[in-house]
Amino acid sequence: MTRYILTRLLQGIITVWFIATATFFAMHAVPGDPLSNEKATTELIRKNLEERYGLDKPLHVQYGIYMLNMVKGDFGISFTQQNRSVNDIIREHFPVSATLGILAIVFAAVGGVLWGALTALYRNKLPDIVIMFLVILGISVPSFVFAALGQLSLVTINDWAGITLLPVAGWGGVGHMIVPAMVLGLGTMAFLTRLMRSSMLEVVNADYVRTAKSKGLPATRIFLKHQLRNASLPVVTVLGPAIAAITTGGFVVELVFAIPGLGRYFVQAVQQLDYTVIMGTTVFYGAFLVLMVIIVDVIYGMIDPRVRLS
């Protein structure tokens, strides 16, 4: 087990290195000048700025320097926030995104498994039809609409109650998290519900379930131990990438709810061609994703005895 995890971590480091390299060269291949601004500048000022950021050196030298610094854990200074280091940006804003992301993913996973199991149980009956209708609504309405609607309903509820039950936007306490996390997790929850329903239906008629039933095991035990456990395997598989997607994909929600997360920086950095922030966030998220995948695989191995970790 330990050996397996260590091997995976080593592979992970190589993966991250690949991610960093590909992003580095892709970023430099994109036309546009991270140093340009609305007001034009003279040649000399440009040259000085280039020197400050080391852009005057040949690309492979820049790559070498960057990799060396990265190994030391230094992601450099942001281009747009000129006096802030990328390390600071990640340190200050990742916890916010992570908090929101964890809440959203737990919300999505728990909701998805429960709803999915329910629909499979009542297949083609009323609960199934109602939930499936909501699921389809949930996936065919984009998140920016849900974010706007969520906020609007908060305002309406507060207005109706006469006091601020839940804050409309901002960050700071439990109240600030509930609605944004729900909005963020909604799409994933719909997906997981659908996935759970489908895999539940496959499990319902599986041989081991039939065997269990004919053995006369109590229904509760069959449902929990055999059906639910087996059916949630595909859900666990997609959870790893989903965590990363939710944590990085919070852009719209963070914007609408004025949440100081890293998702905003991630999208804006590409638009602003902020080299160091692009690299920093991509490498950081890449490492995060790889880690999540490893964790999910380990959990997978624990849930499913058929899959051997080796």
């Binding site: 964890i102 329910l118 306490g173 905003r264």
Partner: protein, 565 residues
Amino acid sequence: MSDITSDTEDAFARTAGKQLLWLGLLAIVALAALMFALGWLSQLTASGAVTGEAVDVRERSISLAMSGEPPQLDSTRATDQVSGFVLGHVMEGLLRYDPTNKLVPGVASRWEIDAAGATFWLRENARWSDGEPVTAHDFIFAWQRVLDPATASEYAFILFPIKNGEAISQGQLPPSALGITAVDDRTLKIEFERPIAYFDKLVAFVTFLPVRKDFFERTAGRYGADAKDLLYNGPFTISRWVHSASIRFEKNEFYWNRDAIMLNVIDTPYITPDYNATLNLYKDGKIAVAALSSDTLENALVQRWHLERFNDGSIFFLEFNYRPGRVTGNYNLRRALQLVTDSGELVYKVMKLPGNLPGESLFPVWLNGVDGLFRQEYPARVHRIDVEAARRHLELARQELGLTRFPPLVLLSGDDPLSNKQAEYFQNVYGKQLGLEVKLDKQIFKQRLAKMTAGDFDIVMAGWGPDFADPLTFGGLFASWNLNNRGRYANPELDAQVRVAENSVDPKTRMNAFGEIQRIIYDDAVILPNYERGVVYVRDPRLKGVVRRAVGTDPDYTSAYLSVD
């Protein structure tokens, strides 16, 4: 047989359903617990945006939303509007604007300006937020730093009127050669490179703010990156800055004029550019001022709020590419486009925000002329739409260029929804009225700048905000040597007028020159003005005395106060 199965199936479903219910309840409890745990954790990481009410009359505090956060607060390198807003509240230069937009003493208690130079006498009680006095050396350090090529300040050009300024920024002279001397700690003497008519207006600008040398050196390259990395000498200090979450201003107890500052606290616990979000926050009583977009206007009307409008001083226009090989270098083509461009229709039917004014000139309406407003003394040409004449000019252009038909014109625009709307409007108008094919080149910020600088466009949607309250900030834009003249327009006649405006100190001569520039811009169809940007906003009725202005700190809360009548 089948009946029996379905019976047992049903029984199974019921048991399982009950179990699911319990699981669900358990999950809800667990979720709630997790939420509180995370909430407690997130308070530890101390973003701690205390979300108070919009206005607290007793505590004399207000809450606001900001559209973005300042990239950094080093005044020698600040370029953007948000930084200008923040620095305007926490710093003070030699001079500042009063609520009626007149220049009044700031750190300097009096000043003298003549053709050769200027002298500023600093007040004794001007202090930094650590209690040390603000001295002439702080200005010298800051200004030399701006011009030092190593600083790479994008606003270095604004100090070029000072003797040797340009040479220092080119690296030909050391920063110490700058024509500025401290006669004593409280007397600042400045020598000019050339006579300058608007130096008093210049020194109110952000780039001219003081920086104290010993403090700057202590921050080790992080000056202005965080609340603790900045020393304040203005009406407020920043007591807390949580990046992209909040900035909290508190009254500066060391400010010389602290008795005139009525607000104790300005908090900005929300940073979002989303108009709907700010509107919702205002509706919820969380912020004191909310800007409106054309899309949220009608909501505001329904709420029966008192709305206000204001022109922020910037102009927006279509700029042509004059580089060789571009058809837009042809006068008749530009004239044809000019004759079908209706800025009124754009503003009234497409943009639909009452704050915007249809563009008629390079010079916005708020600029002062000799005695009154410039645009009243030198009215813009009356522009009439004439499709027939436009088509004649287009035909002429086609013959002059020796084309059988025009190649598609590339219109470079930004990626925000507003410029998108305008670009689609122009595409339709030029297609319908002149049969010209317009290709829209929507680009994200840096790519658009790269294309503008490289000249990779025919027409570009551009804008310009004023740096100082003199028509020259607009008038010099299309001089052939101006780096911001992205279309590379070059006209000796216009250049000559810009020279006059730059070098003369006689108001009448200068305004005549600007009048000529305005005429040339229209007659040669150099640019097509679109609109003067306006803002419509709603303000908590208890908050009074907020000053909006085109040049200088905007909005300005230093003279704001709260009252409940």
